[in-house]
Amino acid sequence: MATTKHKADRPDYASDFIPSDVERGVFLGNPVLDNMMASMIALGTEVWSMRRRMKVLEAVLEEKGITKQMVEQYVPTAEQEAAWEKDRDRFIDLTYSPMLREGDLPISSTFTRKKK
């Protein structure tokens, strides 16, 4: 039962139900691909939420006198530039370095233990 976590002494009017099995569906020929695609949709949801919040923040700031133009024309200090570049490179490395993996072993391949 998909009951909510709530105070034990209250009626919730929920009944038992028959669950779907949609999460077991394989649509892309490989469940890992399915899972990755699902993760990408979830990631898009989160990224857009963040961008939309930024838009709200900009709108609120503008109401308080910090205009969008001021944000656009802001010139970072050299220290800020350096710190942000470092963070940008970390972000790129984390996000895209898995693309460089050269997987070539089937799941059934044996593991050769290295000797001392």
Binding site: T4, H6, P11, Y13, D16, F17, S20, V22, T45, W48
Partner: protein
């Protein structure tokens, strides 16, 4: 020709068609939609816009905004691409796509085609994350929202009738449209249903615009007398409220098997100040007196029930309608109104049934609803006025 399932999944087409109907019925739909009145215990974290409470957090609102956009993208991107792909793959195998290919041949292709797989996968996961994001929010603060429901349970102007000990038949317990818990199994399911379907209708029903169109499409009895109206399978009562707006002097009832839906619907009606009576009852055993309603209607109910239950409901509707009363079940194309199935439509119907949990779709497709109406005594036609998809709707009159 409409691709009815494609339309159903994105609803952009349905909404557009319905909006056109709304325009054409502007005079009828002129009745003002009420805005929120509020009540003691009402939770409105971020206020409301017209008659819709805003989602409780900016993040949740933004998540739904993304998923609505993603739904439209899926709909637009694959509307042409997927049918073309299906036809191409059939032709590669020497099968004429227009020859009504077998579902076996179609699924054999679908199982190995990445484009067809992607079309289904992305639509279903959009649906999945729509429900999940909403459920996660409301579950995280469950007592707050259960307090809100409780605060409204006993308030008017309408009434709420629930039966916690009612034994629900299994056909009511499926997670239709993969909504977690379905209509009966999640105490906060009404919140999920309302906000999730706003996404599903791509924000074209945030003020119940579509439900008002359907309520306004319901034909009157020949004598014009409308004192009591019943909306069957009303979920959160959007059409029930719209019927009250159309017939302000009448007593309006909505029934559903799902207590969580009704509780939320009652709270919303309280908030809107609309007097409707919502009751937990079954379509096949409505427990109303004989000859006690002038109109019995429903909105997309029948395709969510086994065919046998549909027939039982038709019998019940005939029983509770007074002589001259109107039976108007709004649903997908029925009878000879059905378009010819194209290969991709057959695939779309299949995965909608199998994976989007439209559990009873195949039974609905083979159901002769018009015949069932005539069998119990209705003077019935499939050429009733347009309501939803298609240009006409089934209509039954109980002989005077």
């Amino acid at each position: 020709m409409f691709d009815r399932r494609t339309m159903f999944s994105g609803l952009a087409g349905v909404a557009t068609g319905a909006m056109a109907l709304l325009k054409s019925k502007k005079a009828e739909a002129a009745n003002a939609a009420p805005s929120h009145l509020g009540f003691k215990g009402d939770v409105e974290v971020r206020g409301s816009t017209d008659r819709n409470e805003r989602l409780p957090t900016l993040d949740l609102e933004s998540q739904q905004d993304f998923l609505t956009g993603f739904r439209i993208w899926n709909q637009t991107s694959f509307r042409t691409l997927a049918p073309e792909r299906m036809n191409q793959r059939l032709e590669e195998r020497g099968i004429d796509p227009a020859s009504n290919p077998s579902i076996t041949a179609i699924l054999d292709i679908a199982d190995t085609d990445p484009v067809l797989g992607l079309a289904a996968h992305t639509w279903l996961n959009c649906q999945f994350f729509t429900w999940k994001t909403i459920q996660d929010h409301f579950h995280a603060d469950a007592d707050r929202y259960l307090d809100e429901l409780e605060a409204a349970d006993k308030l008017g102007p309408g009434t709420l009738e629930l039966h916690p000990d009612m034994k629900l038949p299994d056909h009511t317990k499926h997670e239709i449209h993969i909504m977690p818990g379905g209509y009966v199994g999640d105490s906060l399911g009404g919140y999920m249903f309302h906000h999730g379907t706003n996404n599903f209708y791509t924000n074209k029903n945030n003020k119940d615009e579509l439900h008002r169109v359907y309520a306004n499409a319901v034909p009157l009895p020949a004598d014009g007398v409308v004192k009591r109206v019943l909306d069957v399978g009303c979920t959160i009562g959007q059409m029930t409220v719209a019927l009250k707006e159309r017939f302000p002097e009448a007593e309006i009832w909505g029934i559903d098997a799902g207590a969580p839906m009704l509780r939320y619907g009652h709270m919303r009606a309280v908030d809107l100040g609309v007097e409707v009576h919502l009751a937990q009852r079954l379509a096949e055993d409505m427990k109303f007196e004989d000859n006690s309603f002038d109109i019995v209607t429903s909105y997309i109910l029948h395709h969510e029930m086994p065919a046998e239950i549909s027939k039982q409901h038709v019998r019940e509707a005939f029983r509770v309608l007074r002589p001259g009363g109107v039976f108007f079940p709004i649903d997908f194309y029925t009878g000879s109104n059905k378009p010819s199935p194209l290969a991709h439509q057959k695939y779309r119907h299949f995965w909608d049934m199998r994976w989007n949990n439209e559990v009873w779709w195949d039974e609905y497709e083979s159901l002769d609803l018009l015949g069932a109406m005539r069998a119990v005594g209705f003077e019935a036609t499939e050429n009733g006025p347009r309501a939803w998809i298609g240009s006409k709707n089934l209509l039954g009159i109980k002989p005077a």
